[in-house]
Point group: C2
Chain length 421, copies 2
């Protein structure tokens, strides 16, 4: 009986050349974040269905791969519903499992707890180019630190990593959900309209300030509000504008919020190494509703969308666990970064010298062993050595080995007669 | 709404101390096997249900976590069956996905293809101590090499890895399924009884030769067969016995089989580095029915069960794909090795120096930045530095940091006043 050769819809087999880059990025991520004191942890791929459907996952909750109950728990006669059939599902992000992990183990973890997670998540999204139903997420989170040190550390760690990966000229954009809301309130929008306003504001990159203004009016908002709102964005650059805004928005904005944001940017600027910029961007929205304070995103010229994003979410873990725990996280777009590196023809640095030792057909065990001993010697000097029997078509075999990146000079042939003398 | 804090039944959260060891072993596995020319690959966690139920998985097929169809494909009214509800499942091993991968991509892969896979698999086994429903498997396989070089390389690579992990005095036991069968045929058992005979033989460790003899007779086999069979095991040691057996079993055994096995052991002996032994063990059975030739297992004094196992399975991929592809694999018991290392109190070698920098509460952004600059300097020298605000209970905070393995001398406090001068 023949097997289905293609992988399941929307999930991919990873070929050796991509795998090398993925492994390299993964180990650089671990190495870099660990020097900042982030601790790797891991949670199971399978989560309780109740946790996955707890309303923290937004649209992702519609995309869950659900797992059938087993044994006696699975009842197939009578009225069956999805709820009656299912007890668990594949995680769609690493934040829900992190909340559960922290709720379960906080007494054994340091405070603040700096967690590093790299692992696959699953979403039954419509398959499309470059978007897969199993993909790796890579999150760092600091739980239990209410101070701006958390944000500064997250930004410094993430930008250090991107710089080590050879990325240059990228932009860290920072805003605060509270400033975002205060600007809307100050302009006269009512709170229940904020989400609609922000969805329009989020298009600023694409349609410009005039586009946003007209879109707001077309959506039924007062022109006066729209005008007042757009005036606030007239001077959107510069760290000094945060302080100005703070004064202008007095009464609408938590005290200390503007100073806090200014402080984060100033510290991150001072500590920064590498070629990138950090800017205040009052138009930055970030979709997820769980953000409560600072939000940030990293964009790169020439690559649509962001390569990293995150923010502060002080309420989420408390909603899950009953105890309020402040939290702040930054997530790099692992798959996007791999795609960019593959497209650039990225070569993993410091790769080992590679050799192939080809053994004459019909070699006896002693001869084979002597070639393997030579291979062991080379390996102990740090090289990779493929030992293989010569194929019938030796020329084709050597061509293949060269395609795999082994230099012609490093392909050695071993014949019995060479050793017999 | 509170979330379920415990992980799903039988799957575990991995705590920081275990994670460090897992990461270390994983990177040592990759580094070691890559010097032997094994190429890391990865397949999705989710497989077609048809492939999982293709009869290659033996008992594991009863333990599949099955995934519900989605959208319009899921029909809940009328007669529902497991088959009608499910289109995929979580993989229960890495061998079925490897066969699919090879069938799908062989034209883009070198020949022979030496694959390395490390990844989680899922089995809905009855939960028990030390046995989990999600666990990591770690396989190396050589596809397309019919010669004993494949076996020798697998044994050398695996024992090199175990030696690097500090294991000593372990035993590589080798047999061949064809010798196993020839010994049974020679003794007069009929082919349809072989599996029952082997299940009894497999208990030799526990019940001894006399126990096996009596068990065979008690199971209804002729005493004469049982006696003739047990005589063959009287001299079970020594590589020379393979040749003797080869002569004795002439007519029952493929020509060249005994010489092949002798050759594998001789080459592996000659190339071996590290403190372990390689023995011919005619009582070695290995459960899976797909093995066609050499089989091997590694056992360690004091740890029941094996820490690695594998063998040649020349027919399996062909059954899947239609084209015969010879194959040979060796799998280490990743979870078992982690447990042994944890129990031994294993310390990851070459860990970085670790520091904690504690900042006075209420520090301004410039002061915070100056501490972070000092941290960055230390990190660039190769250290790990945790930067944190001082907690109210500083003494407790420092105790916690020491528990995490940071030396008291490496915990530094930073006060505004130190810098103001």
């Amino acid at each position: 009986m023949a097997l289905i050769k293609k992988s399941v819809t929307g999930m991919k087999d990873i070929m050796p050349d991509e795998m090398m880059i993925r492994d390299y990025v993964t180990s650089l991520v671990k190495e870099t974040y660990e020097t900042f004191g982030f601790t790797p942890i891991e949670t199971p791929a399978v989560e309780h269905i109740e946790n996955l459907l707890s309303k923290q996952g937004g649209e992702n909750e519609k995309l869950i791969f659900k797992i059938l109950k087993r044994g006696e728990k699975l009842v197939l006669d009578g009225d069956v519903t999805e709820e009656s059939l299912v007890d668990s599902g594949l995680r769609y992000d690493l934040t829900v499992p992190l909340s559960r992990y922290y709720a379960s183990h906080a007494d054994k973890l340091p405070s603040p707890f700096k967690a590093l997670q790299i692992g696959p998540v699953w979403r039954a999204d419509r398959p499309q180019k470059g978007r897969f139903r199993q993909f790796v997420q890579c999150d760092i989170d600091i739980l239990g630190d209410p101070t701006p040190l958390a944000e500064t550390e997250l930004i410094t760690a993430t930008t250090t990593l991107l710089s080590k990966l050879g990325f240059k000229g990228f932009t860290v954009r920072i805003n605060d959900r509270r400033i975002l809301r205060a600007m809307a309130a100050y302009s006269g929008f009512s709170e229940e309209d904020f989400d609609r306003v922000f969805i329009i504001l989020d298009k600023m990159d694409k349609i410009g300030a005039e586009g946003v203004r007209e879109d707001l009016v077309a959506s039924g908002f007062d022109r006066e509000c729209a005008d007042k709102y757009m005036d606030l964005f007239a001077d959107k650059g510069g760290i000094d504008y945060i302080g100005e805004l703070g004064q202008k928005l007095a009464g609408f904005l938590d005290e200390g919020c503007a100073d806090g944001l200014t402080g984060i940017i100033r510290s991150a600027e001072r500590v920064k190494e590498g070629d990138f910029s950090i800017v205040f961007d009052p138009t930055l929205v970030r979709g997820m509703s769980y953000y409560t304070g600072t939000i940030f995103e990293i964009t790169m010229e020439g690559f649509g969308g962001s390569v990293a994003g995150g923010g502060r979410y002080d309420e989420m873990i408390g909603k899950f666990t009953g105890n309020k725990v402040c939290a702040c996280g930054f997530s790099i777009g692992f798959e996007r970064i791999i795609t960019i590196l593959m497209d650039k023809g990225f070569k993993v640095p410091g790769s080992k010298d590679r050799y192939a030792f080809l053994i004459e057909k019909g070699a006896d065990p002693d001869f084979t062993a002597s070639v393997m001993e030579e291979a062991a010697k080379k390996r102990s000097e740090g090289a990779c050595v493929i030992v293989a029997m010569m194929n019938k078509n030796k020329r084709f075999q050597k061509e293949q080995l060269e395609k795999e990146g082994i230099k012609a000079d490093n392909i050695k042939e071993f014949y019995h007669s060479d050793f017999k003398n």
